[in-house]
């Protein structure tokens, strides 16, 4: 399941790269056709100016995003989006839920009875896995950009943008980490992958639909804070579906945003500790 999640993520990133590369020739063709039409004298000069302004901007935007380094940035943003976050959630829930299905926790607890240690080990594993997932997605976007640049005869990037991509990675990773931790906790408490996905997904939906726009709740809303890390639509409904708008906000990462997001993670972990301490593991009774 974890492998499926990773492959799905790579597939989505590459598909995004391909679709953007397909847009550039289409835009250039449209421009050339219109230019040809103009030479026939069938449109006014004002119409021509409007067309050039609109389409030049579009072509310039596409050419900018076709830079392989920029593609790494796109996929970093993708990892911070609802889709990237959900991939991390699925990965975390699948990993933890499978261990319960296999009865592995009982095997571990009869060797290490300190349950908080077991819980901590799972959370550290998930945190590391989200870093790996986000890095794989960014790397996939970067490599896809290089390959597609060669295929479409677009000049490859100098690589100067790669540092910016790496700087963007924490912005993508922090939201993925928060919701992966919540999914992990949900899976551990209910001993089910589905419960983990439901807990994280439910929080995203409830937060996006109900809390973000309600006065004081906006300050503690994860979606509101994630919006400071990656561009989030201000529409609650849209923010449920797709976090990023146009890229990464300017400036550094604010400590308050990180504190609120990690605060949510800490509350979830505390709840898990309280439940795990009292939970009975193994087959019910005989």
């Amino acid at each position: 399941m974890v492998l499926v999640v990773v492959l799905a993520g790579i597939g989505l990133v590459v598909a995004q790269a391909i679709s953007n590369y397909e847009l550039l020739p289409a835009a250039q063709t449209r421009f050339a056709d219109y230019d040809h039409l103009l030479q026939g004298g069938s449109i006014t000069a004002d119409q021509h100016e409007q067309f050039v302004a609109a389409n030049t901007t579009e072509i310039e935007r596409l050419e900018a995003t076709l830079d392989p380094a920029a593609y790494g940035g796109l996929s970093a943003r993708f990892a911070g989006s609802a889709v990237g976050v959900l991939l991390a959630v699925f990965m975390a829930a699948a990993f933890v839920g499978a261990e319960f299905r296999w009865g592995y926790w009982s095997m571990l607890l009869v060797r290490e009875p300190r349950r908080h240690r077991l819980l901590a080990s799972k959370l550290v594993t998930i945190a590391m896995a989200t870093i790996v997932l986000a890095t794989i997605l960014v790397a996939a976007g970067y490599v896809a950009g290089l390959i597609l640049a060669a295929l479409h005869d677009v000049p490859a990037a100098s690589g100067s943008g790669f540092g910016a991509v790496m700087a963007a990675l924490p912005r993508a990773w922090i939201p993925a980490l928060l919701y992966a931790v919540i999914a992990t906790v949900g899976s551990i408490v209910a001993r089910s992958s589905l419960a983990g996905v439901g807990t994280a997904g439910g929080l995203i939906m409830a937060d996006g639909l109900l809390l973000s726009d309600i006065g004081v709740f906006g300050n503690v809303s994860p979606v509101h804070r994630v919006a400071n890390l990656v561009e989030v639509s201000q529409s609650p409904v849209r923010s449920v579906i797709w976090f990023p708008g146009g890229g990464f906000p300017a400036g550094g990462i604010a400590a308050a945003d990180v504190a609120v997001l990690f605060g949510w993670a800490a509350v979830a972990v505390l709840g898990a500790v309280l439940v795990v301490r009292r939970t009975e593991y193994g087959r019910q009774s005989d």
Binding site: W102, S106, L108, L109, V110, P113, E280, S285, D286
Partner: protein, 198 residues
């Protein structure tokens, strides 16, 4: 330890090894009160649960190495050899039969040569040759002065293997006997002769 379904055998074992918490009363494992000092007791205890769990896509050897951190590869292979699974050490757990999984669980319990071995229904689902091998293995441990605590419905196997038997019902020990005291009575006759046990 014998008793009917629902008597509390598995619950008692789970309480002793820290998988469940008792509502009342005290439990001690190797003299250590549980669950507060399980950390001291469990390194000297091997536990074979009735439904052992392993990573199905990992090999037998990898699973044991994860459960026995700090042991050398030779010690891991030695445990697999003890239960006759060394030749399958590189196979994935998902390819094993139920009996082989039970043997792997036995290897996991034995891997640190514990002073006390606790086994919950170890004979369940095993074919006769595997039952015989397991019985021999446990008898050898007994001969070496190691304690083996078994919960089972297989009265014939227990009679061949054990020195003492306790019967449990509704969470309480209702009878206990050394097999040497049975005289000419079989364990099965003793068990069914207990009051309210039919």
């Amino acid at each position: 330890m014998v008793g009917p379904n629902g008597a509390g055998k598995t619950t008692l074992i789970k309480t002793l090894v820290g998988l469940a918490r008792a509502d009342e009363g005290e439990a001690h494992l190797l003299g250590y009160p549980v669950p507060h000092t399980l950390v001291q007791a469990l390194p000297r205890v091997g536990v074979m649960l009735d439904v052992p769990g392993f990573y199905p896509r990992l090999s037998l050897r990898s699973n044991l190495r994860m459960l026995a951190e700090g042991l050398s590869p030779g010690e891991v292979d030695g445990a697999l050899n003890t239960v006759g699974l060394l030749e399958r050490a590189g196979s994935k757990v998902r390819t094993l039969s139920h009996g082989m999984r039970q043997r792997l669980a036995c290897a996991a319990a034995l891997i640190r040569d514990p002073a006390l071995l606790i086994m919950d229904e170890p004979f369940n689902g095993l074919d006769p040759p595997t039952v015989r091998d397991l019985r021999q293995l446990l008898a050898e441990r007994g001969a070496r002065g190691k304690t083996v605590f078994i919960s089972s419905h297989q009265l014939e196997e227990l009679e061949k293997l054990c020195s003492h038997v306790a019967a449990i019902q509704r969470g309480r020990v209702v009878a206990a006997i050394a097999l040497s005291e049975l005289g000419g009575t079989s364990l099965e006759d003793w068990f069914f002769g207990l009051e309210g046990w039919h």
